[in-house]
């Protein structure tokens, strides 16, 4: 998957986890926590959905990489290079 495809995959996941949030105005450089009402349970869900949908493992020590959209995409790009976009 290319970075842009990864970004859209994350938007899909966020849309399922927090259906009431407006994701069209998401600023990639700003922390998710500062623009969306996400708690630690929601962050666990991002990790779990990545595993369920794309078989990507994010170990607990790497959770901080999922801070913002930009950092998430950067972190996932090498891990998801072989994943085929659906």
């Amino acid at each position: 998957m290319a970075p842009e495809e990864i970004r859209s995959a994350i938007i899909d996941i966020l849309g399922d986890i927090a259906p009431d949030e407006d994701l069209s105005t998401l600023d990639d450089a700003v922390a998710f926590r500062d623009q969306l009402e996400l708690d630690s349970m929601d962050f666990l869900d991002i990790v779990m959905e990545l595993r369920k949908r794309y078989r990507v493992q994010v170990p607990e020590e790497d959770y901080t990489a999922l801070n913002s959209m930009a950092s998430t995409v950067e972190y996932l790009t090498p891990k998801m290079v072989d994943v085929v976009a659906t």
């Binding site: 399922d16 986890i17 927090a18 259906p19 009431d20 949030e21 009402e37 708690d39 349970m41 929601d42 666990l44 869900d45 779990m48 595993r51 369920k52 607990e60």
Partner: protein, 452 residues
């Protein structure tokens, strides 16, 4: 209910989940039945922690997100308004804390600043601080207020809706209950608890989960601190990677093959009788528009197991499911209903013969209603049907020792046990009520079953 919430989480993430229910129906304490052509709810007076559609904070929003439900799936209608009534003094409250604030200013003008200071302490309270959780709620309140009557009046609804211990309530539980009742509030689905349960079951089964009724667990086989299998009442054995038990703490330990009989003094003591009176008219037509009334007939609130008799009717809760603001599409409930709950003693009820039990049910229906109508318009002339459940009924449905509605006083907040793959969820893990049960199942599934 905690099991179903946990099951949905795990099945959603592709785990194979099997839920075993001893009873022929689901829900445990939060259940329902049909009798004489009428639907009855058990347990549910109100769903607490109500927040409006679109709210992003609070336990309700969190549960909906975690279980991927829409707000409409629970169809919660907010309360009309409730009261705390003591002799000479009453405090009204609804789902907007401003009413409570105004009522306290009127009834307790000298306590206004103290009440603000209490609110600040509750906001500052950190759920994860185990030491702060355990301190005495009465002690914090005594340091905050100078009028003991207000302390008793605030404790009354909070203890009634979720305090497993007698007399005092730990500060953590006080804060959780205060937020859920006074800062968020009461609501109810028009169709009662069955709507929530049915949606949970539908979702769980839709995700491939297996729900087996009339399958009681007799034993958990433990080998070197690890659960290897469970044994059902019919002798069948089931193996699994992990076990979540909502049976209660000592009730679960008792099933483990490696433990001797746990100390029964750890079990909860608080249990209730609840009468349901069906009226030939809406409660509002006789002047009762209260959603819930918490009453106590002296200035000191009594929260103890009865010492003299089968019940203690000095305090109680009156609830009318008619008095919620239902949508125009739903309209009003067809039957007028008044439910009255009062404290009872499990042992005394359990020791009755069948004949005595029938007589005592009638006697305590009359007594508890007579006590309650001192605080609500007398409805006794309009009753067309009644039912009453007792501590032994609760014990049969929940399997909790002593029919303890809120479980054991000592909660196991992290859900762990001496067995490395056996965890607790539900009442004895720490959260009570309908929202609490679901939150417990979700948290324990997240913490113990989804991280590897």
């Amino acid at each position: 209910m905690s099991g179903l919430a946990a099951g949905i989480r795990l099945a959603h993430y592709d785990q194979r989940v099997c839920i075993l229910e001893r009873h022929y129906t689901i829900g445990g304490l939060n259940s329902f039945y049909r009798m004489n052509g009428r639907d009855y709810d058990v347990g549910l007076h109100a769903v607490t922690n109500f927040t409006e559609k679109g709210a992003k904070k609070g336990p309700l929003a969190r549960i909906l997100r975690q279980l991927r439900f829409k707000w409409e799936d629970f169809s919660l209608a907010p309360q009309k308004g409730s009261r705390i009534v003591f002799p000479e003094t009453e405090i009204r409250f609804d789902n907007d804390i401003e009413l409570l604030r105004a009522e306290i200013a009127q009834a307790f003008p000298t306590q206004v600043d103290h009440f603000e200071s209490l609110l600040q302490k509750i906001i500052d309270y950190d759920d994860l601080d185990q030491a702060a959780f355990q301190i005495s709620g009465r002690q914090v309140l005594a340091e905050t207020f100078t009028d003991p009557l207000l302390i008793e009046m605030l404790l009354c609804p909070l203890m009634w809706y979720g305090n497993a211990a007698e007399e005092d309530m730990v500060w953590g539980q006080f804060c959780i209950m205060f937020r859920s009742i006074f800062m968020e509030g009461f609501a109810r689905p028009y169709k009662g608890v069955r709507l929530i349960l049915k949606n949970l079951v539908k979702r769980f089964r839709g995700l491939g989960g297996e729900l087996l009724l009339r399958k009681g667990v007799r034993k958990i086989h433990v080998d070197s601190g690890h659960a290897v299998a469970i044994e059902l009442d019919n002798g069948e054995q089931i193996v699994g990677k992990r076990i979540l038990s909502s049976a209660g703490n000592i009730e679960t330990l008792r099933m483990c093959s490696d433990t001797s009989e746990p100390d029964p003094r750890g079990a909860g003591q608080l249990t209730f009788i609840e009468s349901i009176s069906v009226l030939d008219r809406q409660p509002e037509s006789i002047g009762n528009s209260d959603t819930i009334v918490f009453y106590n007939d002296s200035d000191k609130f009594h929260w103890n197991r009865p010492k003299q008799d089968l019940c203690d009717v000095r305090t109680g809760v009156i609830c009318s499911p008619n008095n919620y603001i239902y949508s125009d599409d739903d309209g009003t409930l067809s039957d007028g209903i008044v439910r009255i709950t009062t404290i009872a003693d499990f042992d005394r009820w359990n020791d009755l013969s069948e004949e005595e039990y029938r007589i005592e049910k009638h006697r305590w229906y009359d007594r508890s209603v007579a006590s309650a109508v001192r605080f609500t318009p007398d409805f006794r002339n309009y009753v067309i049907d009644t039912d009453l459940f007792t501590p032994t009924t609760i014990q049969r449905f929940t399997w909790h020792d002593n029919g303890a509605v809120y479980g054991a006083p000592d909660k196991q907040l992290d859900g762990t046990t001496h067995v490395d793959n056996l965890f607790l969820c539900g009442t004895d893990q720490g959260y009570v009520g309908i929202i609490g049960a679901m939150m417990s199942g979700i948290s324990m599934a997240n913490l113990h079953c989804l991280r590897d």
